[in-house]
């Protein structure tokens, strides 16, 4: 990445062409299966055309006083063709589901794997939310449509096309009469879709607001009660729900008002066929049977056409979601494939003249830092000094605008795809992954055994509470699982890092949230993980700085003081002031 490129890219939206190309790419691996599916589905729709045609012949046979055997033969044709169509429909629909599900699964896996590999430093905060909704909601929308609509849609589309072709074979004029309904369908749909979209999205947004109002009040019930703000919150929820109610009614009135056009199109087509048939029969250009067959063909189109028209919205929103999904894959195309590195580097880490900006705001200005193997550094300074940014850059998670980072003498970018990483950052952001605790800790090193995980948990002093869990290390944790305290969550984060066994460990306020008593326990846990490696700790409590080999004081994006605790106290600068403020409580 060069300095001229924008730092915080928004995720792209794939163009229609890119979506088509991507779909072709995925379908290509199931070429034979796809072709077979289409042939079978077409055959199913074709055999469905036999019945109206046979009924038409039967009408003519009745009118011309035919034989009983003729009727029985035609009924047998109806039965035979219908049975064949039933079998073909079942087989082709099963194949459509198979192809659809396979393509979908590969696609969502590619989306998630790309999303995980996108360099985090390049995603702005809004971009992360966007990414989460693309891998969660958008994949969900497309999956739902493929599961519930793909097979019926393919069947309906083929039925419509082939029925119109069948009408044409029966009598071109009758086909033309039936086609008179098509402009009504097309024009009304063209009127409807652009007007429906904003209504539906306003309704969805109102649903979102309603959910937000419910979640915030329910989740913050304790605070609501503490402030006696129940009435205000009930009023907020009721207002949000009422807005959604009004929009839903608006959508309902609009959609049902428009729905008449479907019936109008049906009536127009049916009337045209009967009127045309009347003329054709009067001029002996067609038999009564042919007209009957045509009217029945057309009646058979009502359901498939309705299915297509009424699911147009859903198909459109699936297409939009598909654009967002493929957009993620497109964003990952420019990622270089860096091969994993087997050997572990030494614990030297060096940052040279690092400058970094967020927008116009320069958060780091030409910061240089060098840490020797095994050295323990404490980084202190007020919020906003750039400590966390420096840590993510040293960890190789964000490319600095200017400057470079090396570990063990080679550029950190070399280790981009190496697991476990030689430089591990335990960040301010804590997260417990849903699932068994052992799987969560194992994220530190994929090939770790259960014993390795237990050892890592013991090292950080978590063995006590883990043993007390209902299923030990196999207890489900995270969302819907066993709730962990802040201190336990910090233990898990440290245990992952211990398991990863990095040459360099960066700790960013990992012990901040858990209260002073827990904090001192966590400090010893952190010390146990840091032992024997290069360490850089963003110290929250100055106690942590006291025992470091070297303390770096940051302010306004630069390192302003450096030295041991005692040296800095003697120098009587910012650190000495911070310490005396901190120490005043003693």
């Amino acid at each position: 990445m060069t300095a001229t490129e924008p730092q915080h890219v928004r995720l792209p939206l794939a163009t229609a062409g890119e979506v088509r190309q991507a779909l072709r790419h995925y379908v290509r691996s199931h070429r034979v299966l796809t072709a077979t599916t289409i042939v079978l589905a077409a055959a199913a729709a074709l055999s469905g055309l036999v019945a109206p045609w046979a009924i038409g012949l039967m009408v003519d046979a009745v009118l011309s006083g035919g034989e009983r055997s003729e009727i029985i033969t035609l009924a047998a044709w109806v039965a035979g063709a219908g049975a064949l169509s039933a079998v073909l429909t079942a087989v082709s629909a099963a194949l459509v589901a198979r192809v659809g599900q396979r393509v979908l699964a590969r696609m969502r896996e590619d989306v998630v794997s790309t999303a995980l590999r996108l360099p985090p430093g390049q995603l702005e905060e809004a971009g992360r939310g966007d990414l989460a909704s693309r891998v969660g909601d958008d994949v969900g929308v497309v999956s739902e449509v493929i599961a519930s609509l793909l097979a019926p849609w393919v069947g309906a589309a083929l039925t419509v096309v082939l029925t119109i072709a069948g009408l044409g074979a029966l009598n071109p004029w009758l086909a033309l009469a039936g086609l008179a309904s098509i402009p009504v369908y097309v024009l009304s749909l063209r009127w409807y879709l652009p007007r429906a979209a904003p209504r539906y999205s306003a309704e969805r947004a109102a649903f979102g607001d309603r959910a937000e109002a419910l979640v915030s009040s329910l989740d913050g019930r304790q605070t609501v009660h503490a402030y006696g703000a129940e009435d205000a919150h009930v009023a907020t929820i009721t207002a949000a729900s009422d807005r959604a109610r009004k929009l839903s009614r608006d959508v309902l009135w609009f959609a049902t008002g428009w729905g008449k056009w479907m019936n109008i199109a049906e009536a127009v087509g049916l009337g045209a066929i009967i009127a045309t048939g009347f003329v054709l029969v009067s001029t002996e250009a067609a038999t009564v049977g042919a007209v009957t067959a045509a009217a029945l063909y057309f009646h058979r189109l009502f359901n498939p056409l309705g299915l297509i028209i009424f699911s147009f919205d859903e198909m459109q929103s699936a297409a939009a979601s598909l654009q967002r999904m493929i957009g993620v894959i497109e964003a990952g195309r420019s990622l270089e494939a860096v091969p994993p590195v087997a050997e572990k580097p030494s614990g030297t880490i060096e940052g040279r003249r690092i400058t970094h900006r967020y927008g116009d705001h320069e958060v780091l200005h030409e910061v240089s830092i060098e840490v020797a193997p095994g050295e323990q550094i404490a980084l202190v300074g007020p919020s906003g000094a750039g400590k966390s940014t420096l840590a993510t850059i040293l960890a190789g998670l964000t490319d600095p605008d200017e400057g470079a980072v090396s570990v063990g003498g080679s550029p950190i970018e070399r280790y981009a795809r190496t697991h476990p990483r030689p430089v591990v950052l335990v960040s301010q952001e804590v997260h417990v992954f849903a699932g068994p605790l052992v799987d969560d800790v194992r994220l530190g090193r994929a090939d770790a055994t259960d014993e390795d995980v237990s050892k890592a948990l013991t090292l950080v002093g978590a063995d006590g509470w883990v043993a007390a869990l209902p299923e030990g290390i196999h207890t489900p944790v995270g969302e819907l699982g066993h709730a962990l305290t802040a201190e336990q969550v910090a233990h898990v984060a440290l245990a992952r890092a211990a398991l990863a066994d990095p040459a360099v460990l960066l700790l960013d306020e990992a012990t901040a949230e858990s209260g002073s008593r827990g904090a001192s326990r966590l400090e010893s846990a952190a010390a146990a993980v840091l032992a024997g490696r290069t360490g850089l700790v963003i110290a929250h409590r100055l106690q942590q700085a006291q025992h470091a080999d070297r303390v770096l004081v940051m302010a306004d994006g630069a390192i302003t003081e450096t030295g041991t605790h005692e040296e800095l106290l003697e120098a009587d600068g910012v650190y000495a002031q911070m310490w005396s403020a901190y120490d005043s409580g003693r």
């Binding site: 019945a51 039933a86 079942a90 396979r102 979640v215 329910l218 989740d219 009347f278 009646h299 911070m578």
Partner: protein, 531 residues
Amino acid sequence: MVTSVPVPGSTKREPLRREILRRQRPRVVGSALCLVGHQSCEALVPVAIGLAIDAAVVSGSVPLLTLSLAGIALLFTVLTMCYRWFARLAQGAVIDESHALRAELARKVLTPGASRRKHGELLVIASSDADQSADSIIWVSGLVGASAALAVSCGVLLSIDLRLGAILIATAVVVTLALNALSPLISRRVGDQQESLAGASALATDLMAGLRVLHGLGAQDNATARYRTVSHAAEVAGIRAGMAKSLQQGASVLAGTIVLAVSVGVAGLLALDGAITVGAFVAAVGAAQFIAEPLTAIGLYLQVGASAKASAGRMGAVLAESPAPAVEQPSEDSRIDLKPGEFVGIVAEPGDLDRVAAALRSPDGARMHVEPHRADLFAGSIAENLALGRADTDPSDPSDAVDAAGAREFIDAQPAGLDERLRDRGLTLSGGQRQRLALARALHTDPEVLVLVEPTTAVDSMTENLIADGIRELRHGEARPERTTVVVTSSPVLLARTDRVIILRADDDPIDGTHHELLASHDSYRTRILG
């Protein structure tokens, strides 16, 4: 700590489903009548085709053609109007009713001492269960409408020819019932599929939420592998559900074929014998095919009713819950009497916070506010959040509270300052920023007695210092001599500012003293506070 389980509600309240139907009776009746009209018209479309062919096409009479076309136009007009008003009345009632249920539920669960259910469960009940309970309206009017359509089709068939009608109705009923036998298989497979899909979505969202952690560990490939496993399971479940549905699709084609073949055979022979006209033949074939629709619809509406019943059951249970009994008062000897104007520090075990709050006695019934440790913020501007504890009519300036809480700098850094709107319950702010906003809110509430629980765990040492001074100055400066403040904490910075410190012990009497006295006299206090 007293545990209280929600007491199952008394049976005084009528079942929710019945209550909904009673409340919406006019619209339930109206929509049912409209659906009867619509379904009857749908049943009459094939009859109209037959009549038009018989009357106009076979006869060649222009006036009859005109009449036929006018008849078709009229039929479709009635059909479409009936459907429109069925949808508006029924769906409109569902929309209104689910809103009313949601509002009632919100009031119920936000009442102090109400349901102790998890908020995730309550959210599901307030969202999808409210909607599905209201679907009881669709259940009733749908069943009535579909049954009427069934009656019309049977009437048409029987009026064409009794024998024909009897044979066709019997065939259609048997075939449709056989077809409905497949639906448990399908709902089971579709359920499995939706569950596995939801699992995949939840995992993807979870991985994205922990993206920074994964990057910090370089665990992306590991995470991808985990997702692939879940995605593959969803794929297999999707294919299985797809096979069940394709089986049903094929079976319904087969069912239609059986009805059609029987109807064309029998009606064709009758027409050939001259027992019925060509038009009647077309009408009979059409009506026989249509019968499957109301029969299937009845099955569908029964399912709607079943899920409405389940949802209404869950919803009704919450609405009928009695409030949980109040927290048990602690015995008199463990109470802590507060004196007006003092600043007290309390050192307690993390699990004891509820006990501490219950033990505190404010001087002469003064108003006490306990700010929870968890910094919950709400939608709205920062200023609105800060004014949560103030009366709506009170426009006082929160500046002093903001300064005391050390929140001035980052609030000023927001594009709109105090008017900046919080997104996602303030979760876009850092933990330290949320904590300072919650503290500013508590200080701005300005109660006579304020209890703060570990208010500075997420801020850095320098800021903590400023906050400790700020609290002291704001609540115990010259302007407010009578305010009482309690901090439950083990932070030396905060404790050093207090007038006295109380150490609560699990099985022993509390120890009382100033911070410096206790540091000098109690080694256990010293190690606990200073590490």
